[in-house]
Amino acid sequence: MAAIIRVEGITKKFHDFTAVDHVSFEVEKGEIFAFLGPNGAGKTTTIKMLTTLLHPTSGTIEINGHNPVTEQNEVRKSFGIVFQDPSVDDELMAWENMEIHGILYGVPKKLRRERIDQLLEIVELTDRRRNLLKEFSGGMKRRLEIARGLLHHPKILFLDEPTIGLDPQTRNHLWAYVEKLNKEEGITVFLTTHYMEEADRVADTIAVIDHGKIIERGTSQTLKERTKTENLEAAFLALTGHAIREEQVSGIDHLRMRHRLWHR
């Protein structure tokens, strides 16, 4: 099998802080790849570099054979993403958010309408389709974002903590659907999550990142064996330690804080 994501020695520095430090890995075509790590480990930053939103300070990336820095459009054609942070338009209705996405990704009208119906059904928002998103609860917005992310069927699907804030029912549906997409359409999935049982359930390969460096990589089984633990959560803790991360305040957090002040 061929690698569809190839990362070689990428580093991302924010001023003098190194968020991602010489990270290398490959993701095979058709694989479900879980990228695990404590808060602030560098998962989102890595995903942003893979998805053309940030340029690496050094190192090279290949997505579906293209370079995200120099061939942005080719790279963007090959993936879909559900972001960790909100990315919907609150002043539009649920279906309008889906519609814009479908058009941006060139999904033909008939297929678009079909999938919008089908996906809203899956995330149980069918009767809310004409509501403005500002009337949605946090979890409902999240469900819509996920439905939107699955609207076009890309080669690679990035899911950055897709299940935060979701009830167990929806989480279950989501992973079942993702597994189905993976099996039936061969979509490669790159996910992060803090729920170890989810990673255990769906991932073919797991990489653990901490302080910007990859510290372990393998199947759930091999990680457990190497750390001599019973389950993935214990393995994760054995690898990354029990200390809570003194999380650096990220730029996004800053923005959020300012935003709150601004809207007081």
């Binding site: 939103l53 340029h55 993936f79 919907v88 338009d89 309008e96 814009i100 941006l104």
Partner: protein, 248 residues
């Protein structure tokens, strides 16, 4: 085409749904129209200028367009904050198209805003020279709107948060307005002021709008249109370049 349309439509829908914003943004032009129009009117007439409302209305229409369009451009900061920007930035669509779609949407909104102020000015006593003036005024208004939406977009592309917003308003938008001749005639200005006025792109917009409504273009419609078009293209090119460089 679909993409330009959907992004254009998004701006329109957001505008039409937000009554508060619509009404709020009319406050300032109304104030200028009524306070200045009726306050300075007698003075202006005594000085031999004629009817001040006739003179002022095109200026205030331009002001409404300027403020709305810069704001529509700068709104990208909100999109960045609420996250929607990311959604468009990773789409397999050239950023040029994204920038163009939202700029056209913003410019349409600003033009609508200008039309509303025009209708209010009619109520306040403004009378265009000919009935067909409006047909000529509309493209002028849209050109001004396009120019400043693109301008706002460019600026917002290099700003990462709201802090710069006041700076832009006070040091760019306000001077653009006050130096444009929206409030005072262009003849008999001191050389220093005259130079500033001639540098301000809005001057040509205000002048063209007076030309359209009243046949009183001081600088000439030809020059006005050329300058406006040129600067609009410039703002679109620079704006979309800056937009394409955004990292989130």
């Amino acid at each position: 085409m679909d993409i330009l349309y959907i992004l254009w439509l998004r701006q329109i829908k957001r505008y039409l749904r937000s009554r508060a914003r619509l009404i709020g943004s009319l406050g300032q032009p109304l104030l200028f129209l009524f306070a200045f129009g009726f306050g300075f009117g007698p003075l202006y007439a005594k000085a031999g200028g004629g009817n001040y409302m006739q003179f002022l209305a095109p200026g205030v229409i331009c002001m409404a367009i300027l403020f709305t369009s810069v704001f529509m451009g700068i709104e990208i900061i909100w999109d960045r904050q609420f996250g929607f920007l990311k959604e468009t930035l990773v789409a397999p669509v050239s950023r040029m198209q994204i920038m163009l779609g939202r700029t056209l949407g913003g410019a349409t909104v600003a033009t609508l805003q200008g039309v509303i102020v025009f209708l209010i000015a009619l109520l306040a006593g403004f009378r265009p020279e000919h009935w067909y003036s409006a047909a000529l005024a509309l493209p002028v208004m849209f050109l001004i709107a396009l120019l400043f939406t693109a301008f706002g977009t460019g600026i917002a592309s290099v700003m990462s948060d709201f802090h710069g917003f006041q700076l832009v308003m006070n040091f760019l938008v306000m001077p653009l307005f006050f130096l444009s001749g929206a409030l005072f005639p262009l003849n008999d200005l001191s050389p220093a002021l005259a130079t500033l006025v001639r540098i301000d792109p809005l001057t040509y917009g205000v002048d063209a709008l007076r030309g359209a409504f009243l046949d009183t273009a001081h600088l000439g419609m030809g020059l006005d249109f050329s300058v406006l078009s040129l600067i609009t293209v410039l703002c679109l090119v620079v704006g979309s370049h800056l937009f394409s460089k955004i990292e989130v």
